[in-house]
Amino acid sequence: MNSEPLLLTTPSGDALKLRPEGPWTAANVSALETLSRSVGADVDRSRAVTLDMSGVSALDTLGAWILEKLSRRAASSGRSAEFVGVADHFSGLMDEVRQVNRHTPAPAVAQNPVLLRLGDLGRSTVSAREDITVFLQMLGALFMAVIGVLRRPRSLRLTSLIYQLYRIGWQAIPIVVLITFLIGAIIAQQGFFHFRRFGAESYTVDMVGILVLRELGVLIVAIMVAGRSGSAYTAELGSMKMREEIDALSTMGLDPVHVLILPRVAALIIALPILAFIGSIAALYGGGLVAQFYGGMSPAIYIARLHEAISVTHFEVGILKAPFMALVIGIVACSEGLRVKGSAESLGRQTTTSVVKSIFLVIVLDGLFAIFFASIGM
């Protein structure tokens, strides 16, 4: 018994006799490929090919296919090719391999790369319109669910709402406080460092106060919530969709928007303003600490300056934006979750899309609010 596969060639006139020997199995595939390639030219030259299988000690589909391919190569140009000496226990396998790969489908035609790009561009333009439709549909469905709850307040899923509040509100507080504290401290440090050159250090407090309350507090918190809770919503709803849980709900006569989505979005709308408030306070505190230890400004002066610099309007401008940002994050996260298809990859893709899209929309919304508040003079 040979441990290495061999392929002996015996040319006799126009005919070629091939004698494979040893184990023709998957384990020796690289040797087999080299062997079959090396006789390729001989096979093409000769008029008749005989494959003598009597020396084969072991055979599997892969080995059988390589031999079959040799015989087909000869047969393809009208020459004769035959197998002789096939052992009984290999004949079933050889017959099976004879049947396969007869109908190779036409390979996909390579397309013009420029046209392909244009096609992608067109498709993504159309899908942008679809995105807007999906967003509006979800907004409408939520609105209907809210009306349903107003009509029958008992139908609100209170347990679910409280649980979601706990998860996305209460559990988010530590990380929100930490990040906004650091942001406040960094802004204050930059303010002192740069304003010091022209003796305007005290205006740092104005900058920190206005920036944090009007813009940064709510924006940073919204971005964090989109990344932390929006992604969780998408993944949860997506895997529910994959396991047909959402279909099961619908068939029991329950509205998935009412049962799953409304409590989640409502929890976001309640939690985000609270988190934005807590975050803003943490940022002001961070700014105050930097003012004391880096800017040499006593806490009393910091608070007094802050009192002069900011008004309730600044606070209102910031906190008014929070529920709208929460609504956008919630709608994007939930509708992306419902768009998950069967595969694990699609779940990952929709989660990424959800986070990217909601952060983008939160920033766009912030810009629109800035224009709006400027035009009404707030």
Binding site: T61, W65, L93, Q99, N101, S343, E345
Partner: protein
């Protein structure tokens, strides 16, 4: 190699497997002969899948020994795909790969071969399990239940392993598809000379394709032999299994 190693594909001796305080397999012994189709029956939650997963090394054992093809198993995971192919109950196809890539996966990871040959082998395997070349570029989420099982079988057979494990291969298939699948397993087993270890509840599969049937109850193999011997068995659980109302009905139908 001595005689016994030649004869048996899988030898399980005094196997003990448990989770926490619960013992699932209690000093279980089982021999699977080379080239046979062995069906394993047992109550739901009775340890059938645990036995299979222990043999393939997914669950650690607390005692006993398992020899596969004359080699004791343990630790060594490389080359496992060359020894056995496994058809999981839900197919366990990789959802981010196409059907073709799923079948090629064991080839690509274990062998060095050209892309051309790999494509041909993948199509050959798919055709052998009764699929068409056009299905090769679909993703698992686009397949029906029966097709998923066939693709999973093609993947399990990609490297022509000597042993094939099937976990409830016909569950979730309609009787026609299940019958086709049984016939397919029978044919492939003959052509490729496989040893098949099949966990199943399908009485029709047991009667038509299995050479021997083993019954697992109380963590032990309580009866093993050809189907007609099992029907004669005096063990109370085996009697209840094969002579319950449902089974009687089916056996009447088949006669």
């Amino acid at each position: 190699m001595d005689e016994s190693q030649e004869e048996f594909a899988i030898r399980v001796r005094d196997l003990v497997v448990g989770f926490g305080r619960q013992t699932v397999l209690d000093h279980l012994s089982l021999d699977v002969r080379r080239g046979e189709i062995l069906g394993l029956v047992g109550a739901s939650g009775g340890g059938k899948s645990v036995l299979m997963r222990t043999i393939i090394g997914l669950i650690p054992r607390q005692g006993g020994s398992i020899d596969v093809m004359g080699q004791p198993i343990g630790g060594r995971k490389e080359g496992a795909a060359m020894t056995w192919g496994i058809l999981f109950q839900q197919g366990a196809l990789f959802s981010s790969l196409t059907v073709r890539q799923n079948v090629q996966f064991p080839l690509r990871e274990n062998l060095v071969l050209s892309q051309e040959l790999m494509d041909e082998i993948a199509i050959a395997k798919l055709e052998m399990v009764g699929l068409r070349a056009q299905d090769a570029d679909k993703y698992p989420s686009e397949l029906s239940g029966g097709m998923t099982k066939r693709v999973a079988l093609a993947r399990a057979l990609a490297l022509d392993p000597p042993i094939l494990f099937l976990d409830e291969p016909t569950s979730g298939l309609d009787p026609i598809a299940a019958g086709d699948f049984d016939a397919l397993i029978g044919t492939l087993q003959k052509t490729l000379g496989l040893t098949v270890f099949m966990v199943t509840h399908d009485l029709a599969s047991l009667t038509t394709v299995c050479d021997r049937v083993a019954a697992l109850a109380d963590g032990k193999i309580v009866a093993i032999g050809p189907m007609r011997e099992l029907l004669q068995s005096e063990h109370p659980w085996v009697r209840a299994y094969f002579h319950g109302k449902r089974s009687q009905m089916l056996q009447h139908e088949m006669r």
